[in-house]
């Protein structure tokens, strides 16, 4: 169920000052340029909640998800999972934690091996973690199929025989079969049609309740994130620019970027009052170095101070902050 603010005080994952950059070819030159995909990101995910991460493509939200599970290595910063810094563990030590931190990917077509049957794909994580005997594994795979709303027959199906929604259920089953605590869902419903999307969202919620899961839910679809998340972080060009509980963030968006993002979402109601804040301009290239506030190039309220000084997070209320000088 929706988590209750009174008992949320158990942090499951604490991220502090995380940095990650890639090397990429610079524009109009043979030199390499550094893309700072994640810049000084700090946040906490509490046990049992759903933390939503929104932002436009290229803002670093997927990189953040992968870095947390150490699917890519971070540059600096710490990732405290139940008090242990994942960033400092050796790959052998990390294996134990891999079981508790799982990931669901966006594209259910490319995240499954086309040549192995669904059942085997489901048992693979159990194999890796040396859980159970072969019979027990098969049993667990069957149980998991039932839990995600598929039939026992699907054990012998190959991915191409399944629809997009069914494949996404398999992706989910494979992540959950090792009984993780934290699941990073990277755009799990973006490739699906609205009716199938609703099925998967309800399934995610039910499983969260039944298996006591914590989600990091990454998506560009603001309506979906709003529906599923308890707290939301908004990312822009590698930074977290605003964070708050869902209610407060939507009632009172504070960072100009959040306001822009929310006003851009089409409202499915022809009688709704049209919002007038139209904004020209696009996301700057991540290769560009932007001094001061990274949003100042698009921000209608930008002043001299924004061009020079990087804003610090400012509290809006207890659960809600925004990194803007004029918040």
């Amino acid at each position: 169920m929706l988590f209750n603010p009174s008992n949320r005080r158990k942090p499951l994952l604490q991220v502090e000052n995380l940095h990650k950059s890639y090397w990429s070819k610079a524009k109009n030159s043979f030199k390499k340029a550094r893309v700072r995909a994640i810049r000084d990101v700090s946040f906490t995910i509490f046990a049992g909640e759903t933390y939503g991460l929104v932002g436009e493509s290229g803002c670093g939200k997927s990189t953040l998800g992968k870095t947390l599970l150490r699917l890519t290595e971070q540059d600096s910063g710490s990732i405290l999972y139940e008090g242990n810094d994942l960033a400092k563990l050796s790959s052998k030590q990390l294996r134990h934690y891999r079981k508790e931190l799982q990931m669901v990917f966006q594209d259910p077509y490319s995240s499954l091996n086309p040549r192995i049957v669904v059942g085997e794909a489901l048992e693979e994580p159990l194999h890796v973690h040396r859980i159970g005997t072969p019979q027990e594994r098969t049993e667990r795979a069957m149980d998991m199929l039932a839990a995600v709303g598929l039939k026992r027959e699907h054990y012998y199906s190959l991915p191409h025989q399944l629809s997009g929604g069914q494949r996404q259920r398999i992706g989910l089953a494979r992540a959950l079969i090792v009984h993780p605590k934290l699941v990073v869902c990277d755009e799990p419903v973006s490739a699906l049609d609205v009716i199938i999307q609703a099925q998967i969202i309800q399934l995610l919620k039910r499983l969260q309740h039944d298996m006591n899961l914590t989600y990091l839910f990454i998506s560009h679809d603001i309506s979906v994130v709003r529906h599923i998340s308890d707290r939301i972080g908004v990312m822009y060009l590698g930074r977290l620019v605003e964070e708050g509980d869902t209610e407060s963030l939507f009632q009172q968006p504070t960072h100009p970027y959040t306001k822009l993002l929310l006003s851009a979402v089409p409202v499915p109601d022809p009688f709704a009052v049209k919002k007038e804040w139209q904004q020209e301009g696009e996301l700057p290239s991540p290769l560009e170095k932007i001094a001061g506030c990274s949003f100042h190039t698009r921000c209608p309220y930008a002043t001299e101070r924004c061009r020079l000084e990087e804003p610090e997070p400012k509290r809006v209320n207890e659960e809600h902050w925004a990194a803007c000088h004029y918040a």
Partner: protein, 351 residues
């Protein structure tokens, strides 16, 4: 406003498959009036893109498809035209923009030349005049410093800019109808808002009709005047945008509206879910095509297939035997007045 410029009657587009003809579009009728934006919505595979592409006859008729029915544009049935006559219509009277602007643009020509190309192909115009107009078009579609952009290549532009270039090409010959096939699906939400407001502005400014193919009901609500809902190759409901959102009559339209997480709804309410997935075209159910997923289905729905017909009390056309009986659950502003209980039986999975 009410003069029709495009009338599609009982269009049937079948693809030649190894086991016979597969009708991807099966008896679609719709009308686009002058100056109107008509939205076509539906899930993937419902035939909305095929309908759009059939209008311009983009499929190879010798190998791929068979068209039946009538597509009347300015009193002429497009399906009866010869290939040469057809190409004088494409890009000239009716033009089209696609979902992915990167694959639609030629990577080895500067964008300006691609706009000029369309004009030189259709109009008696000097190259110099065409260049001048191309720059005007770039300006019209909101591209900053069009003089310099004219000489740039597609890879030098962002996704939003590329879509603006596509729109500029489409507008080059001042078409009366623009077909936009998911024009913003590949774009971020802030850029999507820019492109949609550009299309709405062009619609007013140039009095150009737009047939907008999309899966996003939010976009439909914000830009369209009329909506056509498609399911498995058929039109299941046609209505004005206000009517469709206020009193959807077809069970499928209702399901679509209820399955969508909304930015303006009450939070924490579970989405209403209909189970099952889309049947494939070669395993269509008997009778009504929605019968396997419909909660109102009766005996009749299983045996006979309904036709698109007017419903009591509304302007809409609905393809459903029970349209008169289905209770309209009115939707007050920004709120979902529906709940899991009441008399509609669509299964709701509680979280």
């Amino acid at each position: 406003m009410t003069k029709p410029i495009l009338e599609i009657k009982e269009l049937k587009t079948s693809f030649k498959a190894y086991n016979g003809l597969l009708p991807a579009v099966d008896g679609v009728s719709l009308t686009v009036n002058e100056g109107e934006i008509v939205g076509v919505v539906g899930e993937s595979g419902c035939g909305k893109s095929v309908t759009a592409q059939s209008i311009l006859r983009l499929f190879d008729e010798r190998k791929e498809v068979k068209y039946e029915g009538e597509i009347s544009y300015g009193g002429v049935n497009l399906l009866s035209l010869k290939a040469k006559q057809m190409s004088s219509i494409r890009g000239n009277d009716i033009s089209m923009i696609f979902q992915d602007p990167l694959t639609s643009l030629n990577p080895v020509y500067p964008i300006g030349e691609q706009i000029v190309e369309a004009m030189l192909a259709h109009q008696r115009i000097s190259k110099k005049q065409a260049m001048q107009r191309a720059i005007e078009l770039l300006q019209l579609t909101g591209i900053p410093s069009p003089q310099e952009r004219y000489h740039q290549y597609p890879h030098q532009l962002s996704g939003g800019m590329r879509q603006r270039v596509m729109i500029a090409i489409a507008l080059a010959c001042r078409p009366k109808l623009l077909i936009a096939d998911e024009p913003t699906t590949a774009l971020d939400v802030t850029i999507q808002a820019q492109i949609m407001s550009l299309l709405a502005r062009l619609n007013k400014q140039l009095n150009m009709s737009i047939l907008l193919i999309t899966h996003d009901l939010g976009i439909v609500a914000e830009t369209c005047h009329k909506v056509v809902v498609m399911y498995l190759g058929q039109v299941v409901e046609t209505a004005s945008v206000q009517e469709l959102f206020q009193s959807p009559r077809h069970p499928y339209t209702q399901a679509l509206l209820q399955a969508m997480p909304r930015i303006d709804s009450e939070r924490g309410k579970p989405l209403t879910v209909i189970e099952g997935s889309l049947p494939t075209l070669n395993q269509l159910p008997q009778g009504c095509r929605f019968v396997s997923r419909c909660s109102y289905a009766t005996e009749k729905c299983h045996s006979a297939s309904p036709i698109l017909k007017p419903v009591e009390g509304v302007q809409a056309l609905v393809r459903c035997w029970n349209a008169d009986l289905i209770k309209i659950e009115s939707r007050s502003q920004g709120q979902q007045a529906r709940s899991g209980g009441e008399d509609h039986v669509i299964q709701s999975v509680q979280s």
